[in-house]
């Protein structure tokens, strides 16, 4: 009963939102880069929870897998490769802090006002409870969307923008895949050790 009294959706949202923001802020105010990486992982993981709550299970899974499992591993590799003691924590001048906080604060203020400005955004979906969970529990729609077929929009054939072959994301998907490949090649190339340059540079 007690459990039913809770709006679990709101509760979990609050939980994950606080985690996300909290670890983000913690990361911001941490000087140690290793700690920063750790807080970032937590923050991003918490945001994945927010994705789940918003019904984007696949995106949330990707967030965990790619971000937390891939990108941040990369970052941590970077941290470890460069983590000499003098670089672990680098102080920033307080003037810059003040400046950044003032600016960040004003930006935050603006964003928050914008976020609550629109009526439509302020009210949640009152029928959210009616939406069946099973409806979106497969990745079929997303996969078909990437390959150019919008099965989620089959009910709107009168929409002229949904011409078959033009309504999906096949082309961006291909571009992004090529992009990834190029990026990986480029990253491998750039990050390779140039001993000679380093040694000569050190000697110089």
């Amino acid at each position: 009963m007690l459990l039913a009294a809770f709006d679990w959706h709101s509760l979990f949202f609050m939980f994950f939102a606080l985690l996300t923001c909290g670890f983000a802020v913690a990361m911001l105010f941490s000087d140690n880069v290793v700690h920063m990486a750790f807080y970032l992982i937590l923050s991003l993981g918490a945001s994945a929870g927010l994705f789940f709550l918003a019904g984007a299970e696949f995106v949330g899974a990707m967030q965990l897998m790619i971000y937390v499992g891939g990108t941040l591993v990369l970052l941590i590799f970077g941290v470890m490769l460069t983590a000499q003691s003098r670089f672990i924590s680098m102080k920033t001048r307080s003037g810059e802090w003040v400046m950044a906080l003032v600016l960040g604060g004003s930006l935050l203020f603006l964003l928050l006002t914008a976020a609550f400005r629109v009526e439509d955004w302020r009210d949640g979906n009152p029928n959210a409870a009616d939406i069946g969970i099973a409806e979106s529990k497969t990745t079929t729609q997303i996969g078909m969307g990437f390959t150019g077929v919008r099965v989620d929009r089959l009910d709107a054939p009168e929409d002229s923008t949904l011409v078959p072959g033009m309504s999906g994301y096949l082309l961006p998907f291909v571009i992004v895949s090529v992009h990834l490949l190029v990026v990986l090649v480029g990253a491998a190339y750039m990050a390779r050790t140039k001993r000679r340059a380093t040694s000569t540079g050190a000697a110089a």
């Binding site: 809770f6 923001c21 971000y67 970052l75 935050l108 955004w121 009210d123 959210a128």
Partner: protein, 110 residues
């Protein structure tokens, strides 16, 4: 109180805004190149949160639908790519300058 006001797009936007601003401040204040990278990741994540929020049927009756999730996926992929390249740059920078302090790299000074 919580039950009275169900979770709406605005809530998500607030979280996104906080992440965005924290990321931006992180970029502006961290001297470590990797710290700057992390700020970027936060900013991207904040933006992703907004896409997800606008595409969620639970938060809004007239949502973007699947488009929000698709774009969020692209952003994640691009963020991964960006992270790879940025890390490569950072390592290169570290190799060349023997430091990770971005303040030391002021070759672009006008």
């Amino acid at each position: 109180m919580i039950g009275i006001s169900p979770v709406s797009v605005s809530h998500y936007l607030v979280v996104g805004a906080v992440l965005f601003v924290v990321g931006a401040i992180c970029m502006a204040t961290k001297r470590n190149a990797l710290g700057v990278l992390m700020g970027v990741e936060l900013v991207l994540n904040g933006a992703n949160l907004n896409f997800i929020a606008f595409g969620s049927k639970y938060l809004r009756a007239e949502s973007l639908g699947l488009d929000g999730q698709l774009i969020a996926l692209f952003v994640i992929v691009l963020a991964a790519a960006e992270a790879a390249v940025a890390l490569a740059i950072a390592l290169n920078f570290y190799n060349n300058h023997a430091t990770i302090d971005v303040d030391q790299a002021s070759e672009l000074k006008g």
